[in-house]
């Protein structure tokens, strides 16, 4: 009996010890987890610091300045916002930028997908991949120089037209918008094709083969197997191309200076000129607006994407 009691007591002690051990283990685990979190932060800190110093804090300062006067920094309420929405140049720049994005995005995505799909059937794809990145390696200034040689009033193309008795075309005047579109697509096409190719190559070929065994043709494979599987790639490409379309200023600036033809007068031209004219308040208000639009657009895209994923 006593032995049994002792055994039971020992069991209870063991159990208690076990419980104690478990608690201790949990505590240790928690401590370890806490330590892991801190380590994670250590890695995050340099990057976060960079973002804070170079992006976040300047943006907060811009936000503050958007409610202040230009140089004296006195609070001026929403005056700057009222002013920019009544500003013709701002409206023109917004219109041109949206037009540019609206034209370039579908064109780039469509053309690059067609090229990528055609290339995906080739065997020596590695070599082509390198070639596709060439346009990104060419400095913008060089590229613009070539565009100028080709498209200026006395450039090669107009020279040829002239020598054949045809009227010359003002590529850098009323057609400047399309030259800029061409420049954007040429520069980003290779990279985007590469993204599409990576997406297409990641789709298991077994899926298409199985479909073909069941009688599906190339078109059905494309629309029912490949394209649905490329949605994540499409999302990435759309976001990158959308953001890149706002960065075409360098080309436009080098092509036609700070006051180009009205058709290629973009937001960045306006920001540049406002800076030169010391309109800091208007510039800050406009940048807050542009940020908000981009942020909302990207958030919407993400929301749509997440919804479809779920």
């Amino acid at each position: 009996m006593r032995a049994a009691e002792n055994t039971a007591a020992a069991d209870i002690q063991n159990s208690a010890a076990a419980v104690g051990n478990i608690k201790e283990m949990k505590k240790n685990k928690k401590k370890k987890k806490n330590k892991t979190d801190l380590k994670f932060l250590q890695f995050l800190l340099p990057g976060a610091l960079g973002v804070a110093v170079f992006i976040l804090i300047p943006f907060i300062d811009s936000f503050r300045r958007s409610f202040c006067t230009n140089i004296t920094q006195e609070f001026s309420g929403a005056d700057n916002y009222k002013e920019i929405f009544g500003n013709e140049a701002f409206r023109l720049a917004i219109k041109n930028t949206l037009r540019f994005t609206g034209v370039c995005l579908p064109l780039l995505i469509g053309i690059s997908f067609i090229i990528a799909y055609m290339l995906s059937g080739l065997k020596r794809i590695q070599l082509i991949r390198s070639i596709l990145l060439f346009p990104m390696a060419i400095p913008t200034a060089t590229m613009v120089l070539i565009w100028k040689i080709l498209f200026s009033d006395h450039g090669y193309i107009n020279g040829i037209l002239d020598s054949h008795g045809a009227d010359t075309i003002g590529f850098l005047d009323d057609k400047a918008f399309w030259v800029l579109v061409g420049s954007y697509i040429w520069k980003n096409l290779g990279y985007t094709v590469l993204l599409w190719l990576t997406g297409i190559m990641s789709i298991s070929s077994a899926l298409c083969e199985a479909a073909k065994t069941d009688g599906a043709g190339e078109v059905k494979c494309l629309f029912y197997i490949i394209m649905p599987n490329l949605k994540p790639t499409l999302y990435t490409i759309t976001i990158i191309s959308f953001l890149n379309s706002f960065k075409v200023f360098r080309e436009a600036y080098l092509l036609a200076g700070s006051y180009p033809h009205e058709s290629i007068y973009l937001l960045q031209h306006l920001f540049n000129n406002w800076f030169v004219n010391m309109d800091l308040g208007k510039m800050a208000a406009a940048s807050v607006c542009v940020f908000s639009v981009i942020f909302i657009a990207v958030s919407l895209l993400k929301a749509v994407w997440d919804k479809e994923e779920n």
Binding site: N87, L92, D153, D173, Y259, H261, E262
Partner: protein, 809 residues
Amino acid sequence: MNTKRIAAAAAAVLMAISAAGCSSSENKSKQLSSKPQKGRYVEEILDLKNIEFPSEFVKADGEISFVNEEDAIKRYVSDGKNVTSEELDLKFPNDSCFATKIQQLPDGRGAVLYTDQSVLSFDTEDIEGNGITQETDTDDSAPEILVDIPEDDTEADPAITEKEGGIIGETEFETEDPADAAEETAEDGVIHISDDYDSGSRFVLIRPDGSFAETEIEEKNIFDFEISEDGRLFVSTFSGRIYKVDLDTGKSELFYEGKEDQANYIDIAGKYIIIPEQLENKVTVIDAETAEEIGNLEALNDFCKDNITFNSAFSGVPCFDFCEGEDGTIYIACTAGIYRYVIGGNKVEQLIDGSSTSLSMTDSVYMGPSSVVYEGNDSFLVECAAGIVRYRFDPDAEENETSCIKIYALKNDEKITTAVNTFRRTHPEIGVELETGMKDKKTYDDAVKDLLSEIVSDDAPDVIILDGLDIHNFIDKDLLKDLTEYLPDITPEEGLIEGAALWNDRDGVYSAAGCFAIPSVACNTGDLDKLDTLKDVAEYSEKQKDDNNYAMNLETSFTGSFIKNLLQTYGNEISDGKNSADPEKIKDFFENCGKIYNASFSGEDPMENEYEEQDEPFYTGTPLAYLTLDNYHLSAGMLDSYPNSINCITTIKDYNDKIDYRYGGSSSVHAFQPIMNAAICSRSDNTDEAKEFIKIMLSKDNQDNYVDNALPVNKASFEYNFTDRTDLFVSGCIGYGTEDESEILYKYTDEAEEKELMEYLSKLDTAVLFDEQTTQKIVECGTKYLNGDSTLDEAAEEVRSFLLLRNKE
């Protein structure tokens, strides 16, 4: 394994080389770092009267000297503190001689390279068809010169004595006794080195003892000469060779072959002969003993590419100079400053920033410093447009400064530098930092962005020179202080030409101009009333072209300068009243410019390729001069100085009653161009000092400096031109009349002319000035149109679109 070893060995070799390179560059940087760390160079313009075009400096036995040709040739000697002068009994062979170059031997003897104009005879000949005249050399029987020093039986060169009886003997050196003349010459202590351009070739040494010798240089086409500190004479020729000449015998030996057919000036700095090459903007350095070319001059040549210039108007004279320093260093003086370099080193170190000193000053003769010498003890003597200037390092200069003001200007201008120098002299206790926005080829956009960054980061300039900036924008942004309350303090006792000085009075006075220019138009007498607008001028010019072949001489072969000139003269017609242009008036402006341009003669300038496009119109006088001199019928342009512009047109009007002129391009407005518009930045921390700067800028002390090359706003300085100036027009000749070919000499303005001018100035009502961005756009598009690179519609639309977009912003 082998590959790894090879790689390791290669890495080791590379490291060794790099270490060696480091140590070598360390050595050089040690030499370069001997400059004291605290303090700064202080500028002092030496008070030497009547010094014009002095010779290069010569340093010998711790004594620095130069000679200057005034009424007599004087030798100046500096002991590092004071400069004393002595008259040299040196005379040119005849009155028509002028010094091409004067140099000295270290022992005090002089050497003169001179040209005798009497051997060049010009005749004029009408070139059929276009009504212009051209000078041609038609006299083949030019007399021999320079060799008529009385015969010395023992030393004279027989070849030269044969030419006895020439011009010299008949004029300057005629004496009864040839022996006395030789002795007299010997007392001069001067070596004449003559170069006769006409016969093209003789190079004659005339020694202090009266003897002389013709040198034996093969080609004999002397381009330049230089004498080393140890008394050796080096001569460069048009073929690019350098000869060493024995001063005793006149014999020469080829010293350096040089580049074929490339004439270059030469300079000697210590043991090096430096040959600046104008075509490539670089220098070749050779050892003055061995004639070996020195290598590893990449740093020096990179520096030269950016900083050295040549005066193409004066046969490519270098606008910089080299001199020897201590420990094998050389010093370079140019408009950008004074620099130190160790031959073969990899760094050219700036000692003095030229932009805020007189080094950057230029005029029609001095496009940069022409001579520099290192006096020792961190002191330099420089010859430049401001005169003879000393830069002395003062270690306590900064400590003695109680405050420092920053002055900002979009472009550097010698008038600004002059005002800064006057301020420094008056207030040595206040430091001055002169910042130039568009230096180092910076664009307008970048310059203004930099300025804005300074303003918002609390490093705003105290004084802003508004020329070229968007003045109205600055006022709108509350960046400028209203000077109204300071006016009693800053206005000089002598009074101001107020319309010009204090024009910027939009709800307050926001700037004060240092000087100004006024437009003018001239035409055939009786037609002046027909020329009220630019359109009238354009139509008149077309009519004159039909009647008389050419209406106007463009006075410049640069289309851009032509547009800029008309923009200044008739800018009031297209101005929108805010430093910018009215978009709707550009087309008419270009159309009228085109009509005048096509009706004008823009003769092919043989030097055209050597000039670069200048910022300012390339005046050789005033446009009105062409009316009389070349039979043109129309002229329009800015009058920007009294002696060279206003005195010129009044003189010509007096000479020829067939022409008439008017102040103001349009008769209905009294336009002017304010220049050097100084304002105080509202974010300045040194308002009192800034105010003091403007006060000194307007003071007579400073404004007197502008008398000859601008129209000063200080009344007393301006009216100084009304006096019979003895320092001007001694024998000034504008040119020659086309009818009787008589000289047209400058005359002083008379009372009636002065009254007419002052009446115009009392009514000044329209300031014409455009911001740099607008000016650049109008000139760029106008040039494209006039050169046929775009149509009138295209050019006008480009400017219109630019202006409209800017207005929308």
